[in-house]
Every structure is written in structure tokens, then in C-alpha cells.
């Protein structure tokens, strides 16, 4: 696995992400500054970490989405490369048009910072193969704008095409308004693009990968990615 972690001004989770990628895959990722116009040769996974790029000015992720490196990411994704965006990274992917829709202010206006449960909707994707379909995992969230919204047609298509990979749920896996922490359409926590090679998700799986963190449920996502890429290599 040869991963690249993008660094935008105001991002603050890039080290967590890099640490996790190294821990799970055994390979040190390359940190790539937003002003770069190309990705390191041989990159097979691009990760957009969480944080507050450009201080969330204008709209979350809006300015980062227009930075030079994003043209390279767009080309990488067009060629089938795997892209993972977490939290602010998800917002940047939506703003850049790599994923449909937008992350709106949380329905109850509060910044939400605690563990949540996610239901893994399917296991036959590079982003979920480390889990079983229907499995419930516990990972942290930390966001003020995670309320996924898109037009009704897009939501219907995401649902119908199996592009919702993670949903907010209860500890036993029930999905519903009570467990939908931020008001996201259809309790969406993570979606992929049409081709299935770009995932955006609000929760932080990279923060639940070691025993010292109290939970290792996030590990499956990265282990799955590593296994997928090792096999492809």
C-alpha cells in the first residue's frame, strides 16, 4: 500500500491518519501539501483527513476543494484510484464534486464529539471488506457539519445502487431517527461515488485502531483497504 495523506492548511487529523495507515499496513504514507500539482508516483490510496481546512471559511471544505492538488486527485480517481475522505475530507470531496451532495450544519446545531455506532451496509467493497455486511462498529465522530443532504433523486440513487456503505445506528444495529446523530438523510454516515472508488465518511475510524484507544473497530476499514491493495499489486 502506497498511500498519500493530503495536508491542507487548518487540517489537524493528518497525523492520526498517517499513524493508523502505518500501523495497519506497515507502510509509511507520504504527506502531500495542498499546493502540489501531482501525487507521488505509484500512489494507490489518497486520504483526505479531518480537521478544519481554511478554518471552515465560506463553507466547510469549499476552499480546500479548489486547491491545486485536487486536480491531481480528480485525475487519480478518474483512473480508478482509491480515495478516502474522513470528516473534513468528506466535506472536501463533496465540495470538489467527487461525491454528490453536501454536509449541512447538524440538525440540532451542536458540535457532536463522542462515539457512535455504524452499520456496515455491505462487505464487498475495498472500503468495507474488513467487515461483515450488517456488522455494527463503534467509532468516534467530531463534527458540526455532518448532516448529509442531497436532492431526493440522488438519495434514491445512492440507496438503490448500494452506495451507502455506513449508516448511523444503535448498538444493536437499528437505524432510525433516534440514532441519526446529525439529521443526515437516510442516516448516511458514509457513501461512495458511482464507480465505488471514492469513499467519504464523517466518523473517524482512524481513531479506533489500538487497544489504548479503548476500541479497535476502525481497524477493519484500513485492514480491508490494505488487503485489497496488496492483492491488486
Amino acid at each position: 500500500m502506497k498511500s498519500a495523506v493530503l495536508v491542507f492548511p487548518g487540517i489537524n487529523r493528518e497525523r492520526d491518519m498517517a499513524r493508523t495507515l502505518k500501523l495497519v499496513s506497515g507502510h509509511e504514507p507520504t504527506m502531500v501539501w495542498h499546493a502540489e500539482t501531482s501525487l507521488p508516483k505509484g500512489t494507490d490510496l489518497v486520504v483526505l483527513p479531518g480537521g478544519f481546512s481554511y478554518g471552515d471559511y465560506l463553507r466547510c471544505g469549499a476552499i480546500a476543494a479548489r486547491s491545486p492538488v485536487m486536480d491531481a486527485v480528480r485525475k487519480f480517481a478518474d483512473d480508478g484510484g482509491l480515495v478516502l475522505g474522513v470528516c473534513n475530507g468528506f466535506q472536501i470531496l463533496c465540495e470538489s464534486g467527487l461525491l454528490p451532495g453536501i454536509l449541512m450544519r447538524n440538525a440540532r446545531l451542536k458540535f457532536i464529539c463522542h462515539d457512535v455506532h455504524l452499520r456496515v451496509e455491505r462487505s464487498d467493497t475495498p472500503f468495507t471488506r474488513g467487515y461483515n455486511a450488517g456488522q455494527v462498529i463503534r467509532v468516534p465522530v467530531a463534527h458540526g457539519e455532518g448532516n448529509y443532504a442531497a436532492d431526493a433523486e440522488t438519495i434514491k440513487r445512492l440507496d438503490g445502487d448500494g452506495r451507502v456503505l455506513y449508516r448511523y445506528c444503535s448498538a444493536s444495529g437499528e437505524v432510525g431517527d433516534t440514532h441519526n446523530i446529525n439529521g443526515a438523510a437516510q442516516s448516511i454516515a458514509g457513501i461512495v461515488n458511482e464507480r465505488g472508488n471514492v469513499l467519504g465518511m464523517m466518523p473517524h475510524p482512524e481513531n479506533h485502531v489500538e487497544d489504548i484507544m479503548g476500541c479497535t473497530d476502525g481497524r477493519g476499514l484500513f485492514a480491508g483497504l490494505a488487503a485489497h491493495l496488496e492483492r491488486a499489486a
Binding site: L58, R59, A62, I63, R66, E95, P100, G101, I102, M104, R105, N106, A107, R108, L109, A149, A150, D151, G183
Partner: protein, 80 residues
């Protein structure tokens, strides 16, 4: 030239910030407020004097960055 671009949420898009402001106005006892929706105003100065070109540049700016047309509308006003 000077111009103003106003960005507003499309009808039907939930605006929790507007709702919170609406609630605050009510609790302050400000009468006669039916509803509040929050938007953004950009005051922009442009060196050019050709109104058509200025408007085209502003439209480009709004489409590319100022507004996210998934959820927002914008209006351009050249103020002279």
C-alpha cells in the same frame, strides 16, 4: 466597479441557523417576525469598467466558489 453577490439557501433546504436566530428573536420579544433564513453577502471590487465582462466574472466566481448550487442560489448586483 463595485458589486454585491448575495448567496441564499434554496427554498426547501432546512436552515437550522436561521431557525435558531428566529427563535432568539422571538425570545427577545421582537414582534412580527414570521421566519428567518440566513445567507451570505460578498462585496466585491473589480478593476474593469465593462459591465458585461464584470458580470461574467462575477457569475464565474459564484459558480466556481461563492455558492454551492446544490443548496444555494445567488444573485449578482453591480452597484457601479
Amino acid at each position: 466597479m463595485k458589486a454585491r453577490v448575495t448567496v441564499t439557501l434554496k427554498t426547501g433546504i432546512l436552515d437550522p441557523q436561521g431557525k435558531a436566530i428566529e427563535g432568539a428573536l422571538k425570545s427577545l420579544g421582537v414582534d412580527g417576525i414570521a421566519s428567518v433564513r440566513q445567507g451570505k453577502v460578498f462585496d466585491i471590487e473589480l478593476p474593469g469598467a465593462d459591465k458585461t465582462k464584470v458580470e461574467a466574472a462575477l457569475k464565474d466566481a459564484a459558480d466556481k466558489l461563492l455558492a454551492n448550487t446544490v443548496i444555494e442560489n445567488y444573485a449578482i448586483e453591480v452597484v457601479g
